[in-house]
């Protein structure tokens, strides 16, 4: 089996927002919709202060709560572990948004433009999305599927890998198969003691974080 997971190295994430913007352009996401949001958390009091950046996104959980509450079956878990949304079946009830412990979903209410008049790019690309449905990170599963069809390896070949991975200028995002104990992600999680957010929720997230060492 294959279990795609993402590993984010907090030692290297600099909070530059490149992954956020790259994802928005690749996936034609309108104003305020961010599948990856880099949270900045300030810790301590002056002068002993640190700021930690945590890229927050859909955790593509192995035991997702969003699928349980979805009344139409639009949100579903694939065999490779990715939680996807069938936009044609989503009825926009937003139960999944309420159920997600990671606040990782956004309701795409109406089509908005960044400008007073939509640009040619917006006119041509925004229709790729259905309005009135929920949006979230699905590890760019269409890139993965297409890459596999072409004999490419997700996490290694650029075209078969979630767009944010090679967009990260700090090389802080890694992608691979957790079921392969020799994969890059398996090794990183083991060597760096990768952890997951809100593990106590029991959703078995597929996004791992490598702890900051400084």
């Amino acid at each position: 089996m294959t279990h795609w997971v993402m590993v984010i190295d907090l030692d290297k994430c600099t909070g530059c927002q490149t992954c956020t913007v790259a994802c928005k352009v690749e996936n034609a996401l309108g104003p305020t919709i961010q599948r990856v949001r880099v949270l900045a958390n300030e810790i301590g009091e002056f002068p002993d202060v640190k700021r930690i950046y945590i890229p927050r996104r859909c955790m593509n959980c192995e035991d997702p709560q969003c699928t349980d509450v979805c009344p139409s079956g639009a949100t579903f878990k694939r065999d490779d572990g990715i939680v996807a949304i069938n936009q044609d079946e989503c009825i926009g009830c937003r139960y999944c948004i309420m159920a997600c412990p990671y606040n990782a979903r956004t309701f795409h209410a109406v089509e908005q433009s960044y400008h007073d008049t939509p640009s040619e790019w917006e006119e041509k690309r925004y229709p790729e999305h259905t309005v009135g449905v929920v949006d979230k990170c699905d590890f760019c599963c269409s890139r993965i599927d297409k890459g596999l069809e072409n004999g490419q390896k997700p996490g290694i070949d650029q075209d078969a890998t979630p767009f944010c991975v090679f967009s990260c200028i700090a090389d802080a995002i890694h992608f691979g198969d957790l079921d392969n104990e020799n994969s890059n992600v398996s090794q990183l999680i083991k060597e760096r003691e990768g952890f997951r957010l809100l593990e106590a929720m029991g959703t078995d997230p597929s996004v791992y974080y490598l702890p900051r060492r400084y």
């Binding site: 530059c16 927002q17 956020t20 913007v21 880099v38 967009s167 990260c168």
Partner: protein, 906 residues
């Protein structure tokens, strides 16, 4: 079926570029952009591209762009005047511009003041060259152009480093040797915001390796966040901290902590200093003398083997001193101390205790920094680079904006260089290196610019200060050839000149500074001085008086509001241009190869814009300068590539009018023939398909050390005998010409620059204005985020959306406890008042800022630029009102101002 292609191109929205990438095009639409990882092996960014490159798609399709040439119909110019823009054809617009230029040309190249009648304003100094196509060739063809009134110089600039860095070690901008360094101490250098993709990528790799990074800065900037230690220093006191570190190394640490071999061989430390403060010299050869311990006598500096040279002490010597204007003093048996000895004694009072008070830092923190330096210096160790053994000193020092411009700028650059010098960590693996040079040539190869000069140092061609050669009349409105010897007089020099003088004196003169004239024609490209320069109100007032003002514009903005004609040029994904990349461009853009990359149209232009090469050719044709324009291109003005050489002849024929494709095709072929030494002849089509052409660059050439050894040269540090001399000469020239308004700047030219508490300058400015400094108890400083570090992205909503995730973008960052004392809560509207004006901003409460400091992010305050005008973020420059009398000797000022803040009761 959809036609999907990947078009190779590049981004140079900031100095750190180019970053090579692909535009992904589907059915004529640029869908997205993605990194070109094929260049990962040679690219300093591992082939990655930063957030701004992804914004290029929105930049291209932005409906707020200027869509076609516009002409003003309302002759009255003012902020509240409607220019009455009317659309005109390109043909008509070019005819009008050429007509105005021809009218001006008919009157002669210079006006009654001796200034060029044609002036050009460019933002970001040199980076627009990557977008200007062949426009520089038109400027050369035209001949007399004043570039000194706007290149962004001095403001948000590493100005002193540019000048002194190039003088000492061809270091226009410094970088750590990040792949090898163990310790980086950054005094305000914001690598993570303004170091581009390369800065982040290289530091992330170093982080993986376990290096240590210390950020000295008043607030927890993007770079402080990503450092192991944040040292929250009081604004503008970095020089004092650095001097105290020198003090600790020289007065508290054992001499074995220093690289004595480097000091003796590669610096002027052993040179003996005469009673007048200049090198004492051999009477016959006029070479500086050092002391031969074994012989017990003085010897010319280049005579002795290393083991015999005295580094410390004073010795009785006979010889001569040569001072300003060739004044000579004969000495017999006078006590002369070594340069090193003078430095030791000079720094004795700059103790950590002294600095701790000025910098508002614990003494233990200062000593901790010094201990770190010693711990990581690896004195005596070597490493092999490109097959050659070099010293390994993995400690690097960086300086940021505000730190190294304006008052104390010389001191910080001197101290930074001396710190590196003491441990031999200058221009060697692991240490501080000059990432690029811009004043000296060739820009793309620092080694080739080094030639033996006087006194055992590398040759420098400073602007003359001697009586025979000093220009009695200014040649530019910023007067850099007269006032600033270290600015030199090469292509980049105007961009580093004292530009505030040019604007202040334009029209009516300013204080005692003689009036300068308005240029007949001003052409502006990629700049918005009404926002980004000091004195924005004054800049607007002067621009309103420009007789004819042409702006190449992206959207309407605060500057082209005053234009007579606005011309829309192609954006990044529409234009065509070949540029050089590598071997080193900016701070961390240090490549493993170098070559040429093509920017090409990814698809058809969205609006009726024009490529700047076509624009230049048309302008040259319509002004009658086509032959001169082609001559400039043929001679190598573009890219430094001549169109005729061994095995190729692609010269442009003045009888023909070429398209942009025809011109760049010739440059593509010539460049690859030259770079491959005749092996490869790649045309435009080849570049269009492959994107770039590269050859290996031996990494060793990024270090100056081998070439210094090869020539037997020394760095002209620590003692500045020549700086002292040229300062005196400059004073003589200015006073002979009854110019006294530059006297304060003349005090900078010290052999050993004294350090002081520079914050007093701001308090004095307040007192001079009749205000009590106690009432202005906050420092306002400015910082950057990557989204807005260069790039002219204020009009892009996508960048703002990303920036809003970064703390501080939406308002003024203030320390939480300091805010609470004033009854200010998160998101409260506060007033920020300087002696010049008052603005409003939203309070952003954070622990990561000193209690006496507030921070603005980026440069805003727009009132015309679409989208940006609605952000409601004030402009730092409207609050700062620096007294030009306090400009430093290079003509720059520091970006900070004292303010008071108050909550607005709604």
């Amino acid at each position: 079926m959809l036609l999907k292609t990947k078009v190779p191109t590049y981004c140079v929205q900031c100095y750190n570029g180019p970053d090579l990438f692909y535009a992904v095009v589907e059915d004529g639409l640029v869908r997205t952009v993605e990194p070109n990882l094929e260049c990962a092996d040679i690219s300093p960014a591992g082939g990655r591209i930063c957030v701004k490159a992804y914004g290029l798609v929105q930049k291209m399709y932005n409906p707020d762009r200027i869509k076609t040439p516009l002409i003003r119909t309302n002759p009255k110019k003012g902020r509240n005047e409607d220019p009455g823009w009317k659309e005109i054809s390109w043909d008509k617009a070019l005819d009008i511009v050429a007509g105005k230029m021809n009218e001006s040309k008919a009157k002669g190249p210079t006006d009654e003041g001796g200034f060029p009648r044609f002036a050009v304003i460019m933002g970001q100094a040199g980076s627009p060259a990557a977008y200007m196509g062949t426009l520089p060739a038109f400027f050369t063809a035209w001949g007399s152009v004043d570039f000194s009134i706007g290149g962004g110089q001095g403001i948000r600039c590493y100005h002193s480093e540019h000048l002194y860095g190039e003088y000492w070690h061809r270091c226009f901008i410094a970088a750590p040797d990040t792949p090898r360094t163990e310790l980086v101490i950054s005094f305000g250098h914001n690598t993570y915001a303004s170091g581009g993709a390369a800065g982040v990528f290289r530091n992330a790799q170093a982080r993986e390796r376990g290096y240590k990074r210390i950020q000295v800065e008043p607030h927890l900037s993007a770079s402080a966040v990503n450092s192991d230690q944040w040292v929250p220093i009081k604004p503008k006191t970095d020089a004092a901290l650095m001097y105290s570190l020198i003090n600790i190394l020289l007065h508290e640490k054992d001499r074995t902590s220093l690289d004595l071999d480097f000091l003796k061989r590669r610096t002027n430390s052993p040179y003996l200093i005469g009673p007048r403060g200049y090198f004492i010299r051999d009477r016959e050869t006029e070479k500086p003398l050092v002391w031969d311990i074994k012989a017990g006598s003085p010897m010319p500096h280049d005579f002795l083997e290393i083991g015999d040279i005295a580094l410390e002490g004073g010795y009785k010597v006979s010889g001569i001193e040569i001072g300003p204007d060739n004044e000579r003093w004969e000495h017999s048996e006078v006590l002369c101390k070594t340069s090193f000895q003078q430095t030791v004694e000079f720094t004795s009072d700059y103790t950590p205790e002294w600095a701790a008070k000025i910098c508002d830092l614990p003494i233990e923190t200062i000593r901790g920094l010094a201990n770190d330096i010693v711990k990581h210096a690896h004195i005596g160790e070597t490493v092999e680079i490109s097959g050659e053994k070099l010293p390994y000193r993995p400690v690097a020092f960086l300086l940021g904006k505000t730190v190294n411009n304006g008052p104390g700028g010389y001191q910080t650059v001197w101290a930074r260089t001396i710190l590196a010098m003491l441990i031999g960590a200058l221009e060697v693996p692991g240490g501080t290196i000059g990432a690029s040079q811009r004043l000296n040539k060739p820009h793309h190869d620092r080694w080739s610019s080094v030639w033996p000069g006087d006194d055992g140092f590398m040759r420098n061609n400073l602007n003359p200060t001697d009586k025979d050669n000093w220009p009695t009349s200014p040649t530019s409105r910023a007067r850099y050839t007269q006032l600033a010897p270290l600015v030199l007089n090469t292509g980049w020099s105007p961009f580093l000149s004292p530009y505030p003088l040019a604007w202040l004196a334009m029209g009516d003169g300013w204080r005692d500074v003689e009036r300068t004239t308005y240029p007949d024609v001003v052409l502006l490209y990629r700049a918005n001085p009404a926002i980004s320069m000091y004195y924005p109100d004054l800049i607007e007032e002067k621009m309103a008086n420009f007789p004819f003002f042409v702006c190449l514009g992206y959207t309407h903005d605060e500057t082209n509001h005053y234009a007579d004609i606005i011309l829309p040029d192609h954006t990044d994904l529409e234009g065509l241009q070949l540029i050089r990349f590598g071997p080193a461009v900016h701070s961390e853009s240090i490549w493993k190869g170098f070559g040429f990359a093509l920017r090409q149209p990814a698809t058809e232009p969205v609006f009726n814009s024009m490529d700047l090469t076509d624009f230049s050719t048309e302008l040259a044709f319509r002004t009658g300068f086509l032959k001169e324009y082609y001559d400039a291109i043929n001679a190598g003005l573009i890219l430094g590539i001549r169109l005729k050489g061994k095995g190729f002849d692609h010269l442009l024929d003045p009888e023909k009018k070429y398209t942009r494709e025809e011109i760049w095709d010739r440059l593509c072929r010539a460049s690859t023939m030259i770079l491959s030494e005749g092996k490869d002849d790649h045309n435009l089509q080849w570049f269009s398909e492959n994107g770039y052409y590269a050859v290996d660059y031996p990494y060793i050439r990024h270090f100056m050390h081998p070439v210094m050894v090869r020539w037997g040269l020394r760095y002209e540090i620590p003692y500045q005998s020549n700086i002292r001399k040229i300062g005196k000469e400059l004073g003589n020239r200015l006073h002979e010409n009854e110019i006294s308004w530059w006297d304060h700047q003349l005090t900078e030219y010290e052999a050993l620059p004294k350090c002081e508490d520079y914050t007093e300058i701001w308090d004095q400015e307040l007192r001079d204005a009749g205000a009590d400094p106690k009432n202005f108890d906050f420092w306002l400083i400015n910082t950057r985020s990557m989204q807005y570090a260069w790039g002219s992205n204020a009009a892009l909503p996508l960048m703002a959306e990303a920036a809003k995730n970064v703390p501080g973008f939406k308002g003024a960052i203030i320390n939480t406890r300091a805010a609470k004392k004033l009854g200010i809560a998160e998101n409260d509207i506060i007033t920020i008042e300087s002696i010049k004006t008052t603005v409003k901003a939203r309070a952003v409460l954070r622990e990561g800022v000193r209690p006496d400091t507030i921070v603005f992010t980026g440069q805003f305050g727009h009132w015309k630029t679409p989208f940006a005008k609605d952000l409601g973020i004030p402009n730092f420059n409207t609050l700062a009102d620096p007294d030009p009398a306090n400009l430093d000797a290079g003509g720059s000022f520091a970006d900070l101002v004292k303010v008071k803040i108050e909550k607005v009761d709604l």
